[in-house]
């Protein structure tokens, strides 16, 4: 059964980025030994109660004004909850109390992830770049930057970033995978395949490598083969939400595999309930293939909650509302989308 609450991540490794995120760890085993104020802040973030978050941050400041780890950890949790500005303030506070370069770089990286998840690409890119500037020896910073550039079609900058990363980490399969995804975005399938070959030689049993192959096959419209590649990635790591998601996408492209695709999307949601995309696709199958509008609406509403300015989710939700006879809800969704779009202004939306 899918739970729609924004609950705590069971495992950060299943987050939406292709690669496992970097854990900064300002505190040592913080969750088991954390003071009540810290637990209260976490709860407020999980409940997405902005007023309570503000209160708990003030309380944290009062109780632990000089506790670097507490403020750093608060920053991590806020960043994870997509409260990027408060997270930045907590990181600044922690860093002002003395922090290692690794912690400095890590805080920028986590802020980058926060902004990326909030579809605030420019800020995310700036944070990733700062992270690399402070900690150039951390492979994951480079990979995050390259992937974000690729997702934004900034393939020129992506190539530059990939070149720099590969010069530093020539034997890094994740860097080759990221470089391959840039090439894929650039339409250079030959280069993408070459990057995949290099990555495969380095880590033949990496789910990352299998997923890159699947992405290449998707681009070539070889959907059945792509499904096999994503299934291979799933075999290697059954908790890889992204592999499930892409498997669902490839299955949905095959036309006659809607039920299997839906199951894959539901599994992706179960493993990582954060990204809007899996909800959108699950909703899409319910509405467009199975003509089960009410079911689809449940998922599409979750997609819109997570990405209010993401047009496709709102478009389909409005259509589903209309088809199900919920005219007022359709009008409300239209109004909310227009408001979110205006807020998002010209900022590109990640999808």
């Amino acid at each position: 059964m899918i739970r729609f609450s924004l609950r705590a991540r069971r495992c950060l490794r299943t987050a939406s980025a292709l690669l496992a995120p970097f854990l900064v760890c300002f505190g040592q085993n913080a969750s088991s030994e954390s003071p009540p104020i810290f637990e209260a802040l976490k709860s407020a973030i999980q409940a997405r109660d902005v007023q309570l978050i503000d209160q708990q941050r003030k309380e944290l400041d009062r109780v632990e004004p000089r506790n670097r780890e507490a403020h750093g950890k608060a920053g991590e949790w806020l960043a994870e909850g997509r409260y990027c500005e408060p997270a930045g303030e907590e990181f600044d506070r922690a860093l002002s109390l003395g922090a290692s370069k690794k912690q400095q770089a890590g805080s920028h990286y986590l802020l980058g992830r926060c902004y990326e998840r909030a579809s605030r690409t420019r800020e995310a890119l700036a944070e990733y770049r700062k992270a690399i500037e402070i900690g150039p020896g951390e492979e994951k910073f480079h990979v995050a930057l390259i992937l974000l550039l690729a997702s934004q079609w900034e393939t020129g900058f992506g190539e530059d970033a990939a070149r720099e990363a590969l010069a530093r980490f020539p034997n890094s399969a994740p860097c080759w995978v990221a470089a391959g995804l840039v090439e894929l975005r650039n339409g250079s399938l030959g280069n993408a395949r070459e990057a995949w070959r290099r990555a495969k030689a380095l880590e033949p049993d990496s789910p990352l490598v299998a997923k890159l192959l699947g992405r290449i096959q998707m681009t070539e419209a070889r959907y059945a083969e792509a499904v096999q590649s994503f299934q291979r990635a799933i075999e290697l790591d059954r908790s890889d939400a992204q592999a499930w998601f892409y498997c669902g996408l490839a299955l949905s492209k095959m036309g006659d595999q809607s039920d299997r695709a839906l199951q894959a999307f539901l599994q992706a949601i179960e493993l990582n309930p954060e990204p809007a995309e899996a909800y959108y696709w699950a909703g899409s199958i319910y509405v467009q293939r199975k003509h089960q509008n009410e079911q689809g609406i449940r998922y599409l509403e979750q997609a819109v909650v997570r990405a209010p300015a993401w047009g496709p989710a709102s478009q389909l939700l409005i259509q589903a509302y209309r088809a199900a006879g919920h005219s007022e809800k359709a009008m409300g969704a239209t109004r909310r989308f227009q408001e979110s779009s205006e807020r998002a202004a010209s900022e590109p939306v990640r999808h």
Partner: protein, 584 residues
Amino acid sequence: MSEPPRNRFVTDMRWIGKLSVCGLLLAGLGVSFWQSDRPGAVDPITFELMAPRGLHFVSNSGATSRKYQPQTMLAGVALIDYDNDGLLDIYLVNGAAMPDLVKNGEAFSNRLFRNNGDGSFTDVTGRAGVKGRGYDIGVAVADFDNDGYEDIFVAGVRGNILYHNNGDGTFTDVTQKAGLDHRDPVYGRLWAASAAWVDHDRDGWLDLFVSNYVVWDPEQEPVCERDHVPDFCHPKLYQGLPNSLFHNNHDGTFTDVSQRSGIRKSIGKGMGVAVADFDNDGWPDIFVANDNEPNQLFHNEKNGTFSGAAVENGVAYTENGAAIAGMGADARDVDNDSWPDIFETALVKETMPLFRNLGHGIFQEITRESGLTAATRNKGGWSNGVFDFNNDGWKDLFVAAAHVLDPGGNRRASVEQSNVVLANLHNGGFSDVSSHAGNDFARPAVHRGAAFGDLDNDGRIDIVVTCLDGRPEVWHNTSPVRNHWLIIKTIGSTSNRDGIGAKLKLTTSSGVQFNQVTTAVGFASASDRRVHFGLGKDSVARKLQIVWPSGTVQMLENIRADQILIVREKPALPKSGRDPGSGR
């Protein structure tokens, strides 16, 4: 033949909510009946590739080893009866030297070819004075000053041109005088791709909508490669632009109302424009196909302003949740249910969406159900049109196909493509009949613009397709089944003289069809403004109802088929007043 659909011109506002819901539900139910497996059951569609004497033209993109973005966009074509002799002439748009964007030689000249009526054409560019100035992309045709002669608007990369038809075979460049020598306060010169003449405020004078593409500067052109070979860059690397709307001041001048009308609020990468009254409220709405940005649907608010309605009406994105590389667009009723649908072209692997109007401007994409996913997946589409090529009473689809990439680049094998024609199966589905469309039809080329019209007035819709750095293709419609037809040329009086925006409902014993007067079709191109209907086996149309932009409703009865009918707008009559045969 199915039951005639209800009269779209009778709109009971109380029905709107219910109809919307019912339409959606019925659409869902209807899906399983679609995707016909009987392509042989429809009348064949065939074309013959002509090489008309006198039509000497090779488009010139100013190709250089540096892949400047405009070089892949060339160019539009218009079918225009500029001399009012009843024969469609051809106006072809051309490029310029790169990176100067100047037509520094005859090779870059736009060209006007007069139709001699015997299958040959005469180049009248010099006498007409319409050779253009800069790097031109698109063209729009209409009689903007209501003087009875079709004028030409040319959309360009660094500037647009308005040619006023003097009525004596010559044109005058009135761009400056008309106030269209336009420089945007924020973006400077706007790269215009397509345009549409539309009387958006129904004052009897045609206004001008221009779709603008991207911010582009040859000095800032990024360098892109495909597998180490230079090629055109992805549109994502360029900043989008707002579109423009110019209000006709009735005195030969225009006022830029882009800001005031709300058009400027929305940024896109505008390509093809389609105009129709999608919600049947009597006011024309505007659809813009955007390249890798969500499509735009500007709903006419009846007070000189437009509101963005693409997302809520279901046409911003495809069913794959994608903002596709939208290229061309045509808005016409493909299922004879009275509501104008939208057919849009896109690039290879994206498929070309068909948005079905469920009623009142609410759309549902039926690309998969209609058979278009399979038919268009491996094609890149530029200009397109929705016309009844076999005159069977159901509108078919045509796509001018090619890839966007460099024909000399690493992907050259897939750049040249053959065009696509899809026959309407009368059940919501379409069948790709390209392979049966004649021996010439498989000819691959780098197709771009396409204009539709009856060049020889034989009642069958012909097509002129442009090719990048190549000769235009003139596709003479040779569809063998001699179905009946009717072509209507509207002449407005209270409405704009072309009657652009008039809505036509044709009733025969087989059913009812709908169409509207527009010249904005496909990508960067302008088609015959005369409205064409295929009548199938019906030799008589029982009724023809025309709703003019002025609101005047005119009814004609018992109209003989196989003729070109000129209908002049009558002054508004009392509701009961009918004048059978009026205007014939």
